[in-house]
């Protein structure tokens, strides 16, 4: 069955990016328990790709290194750690549409944290976030069609 990105998936990702924990918790409870790639996963990756292109339009590696350090410092030493090498690889992978080699599943999942941090830096209005998610949803449809 093809992966579909529904309005509900978009609402879930918007709620996550707005860090609206009161609304997010029941939504997460409604997520299907599956390890298969679903609409949420595809949309999160598509949003990450879009956010990295906005932040690093030139693909400058020095900017990527500094951003990852900035995120780790902002999150603090006691937050669940981000592997800096894995985070840099994920961003480069998103920018170059290549597979990030040698990462564990846990490290691959760090793109969700990085997406959240990229969006936090953007300080988007609600309308800007909706526009961002519209673009991400379009990317997600293309990704889903290629699965």
């Amino acid at each position: 069955m093809p992966v579909e990105v529904s309005d509900w998936h978009v609402d879930l990702v918007r709620t996550f990016l707005r860090q609206d924990d009161g609304k997010l918790k029941p939504m997460l409870g409604q997520m299907p328990r599956t390890y298969e790639v679903d609409g949420t996963g595809v949309l999160l990756w598509a949003a990450f790709v879009e956010a990295t292109f906005r932040r690093f339009p030139d693909g400058n590696v020095a900017d990527i290194i500094r951003f990852v350090a900035h995120v780790r410092i902002r999150r603090g030493r006691n937050a669940p750690p981000i592997s800096p090498a894995a985070a840099e690889k994920l961003i480069i992978s998103a920018l170059t549409a290549t597979e990030a080699d040698g990462l564990t599943d846990l490290e691959k999942g760090q793109h969700i944290i990085l997406l959240s941090e990229l969006i936090e830096d953007e300080a988007l209005t609600d309308a800007q976030l909706d526009a961002f998610l519209d673009v991400a949803r379009t990317h997600a449809k293309h990704i889903a069609a290629s699965l």
Binding site: V61, I65, R66, V68, A69, R72, I73, R77, E88
Partner: protein
């Protein structure tokens, strides 16, 4: 097995050439070094001591984790070769290890030697030492290494 009690003069001289930026002289002196295990042990102790001395000069004693993260990102962001050669996690742990004995046993000996040399090179270059300053730096590292070896 016997160990030298001191870092041999020619090891110090080789690194003096390296840190002065005289790569030809470094190559000649480094290739001429005795490859015995005892000298290799002294070589490693000396590089480790230079690393500790350089980190101490640049970041002070017990630098905050945030400062270490920022410093490593700064040097890796300078060029792609440094970014590739210095794994951020390993380099940060190496710097923290100078003061807190955090475990670094999982880092391969050759990798750790490479990290030490690269970080020392960057810090010494940034410090823009004159001849006397470089000699003083090498002497302090040598004294520290001799204590470890002795």
């Amino acid at each position: 097995m016997s160990h030298p009690e001191h870092v041999p003069d020619d090891v110090v001289a080789a690194f003096r050439a390296y840190l002065s930026g005289d790569r030809e002289l470094w190559k000649t002196r480094n290739e001429a070094l005795d490859r015995s295990r005892t000298v290799q042990r002294a070589y490693r102790a000396f590089v480790s001591a230079m690393f500790a001395e350089a980190v101490d000069r640049r970041l002070g004693r017990h630098p905050a984790w945030e400062r270490i993260v920022e410093f490593v990102a700064d040097i890796r962001a300078r060029d792609d070769a440094l970014a590739d050669a210095l794994d951020p996690d390993e380099t940060e742990r190496m710097i923290a290890w100078v003061d807190d004995d955090a475990g670094i046993d999982d880092i391969d000996a050759d990798r750790s030697l490479g990290i030490w040399i690269l970080v020392v090179t960057v810090i010494v270059r940034d410090a823009d030492l004159d001849d006397a300053g470089l000699d003083a730096f090498l002497q302090r590292a040598r004294t520290f290494a001799d204590e470890v070896l002795g």
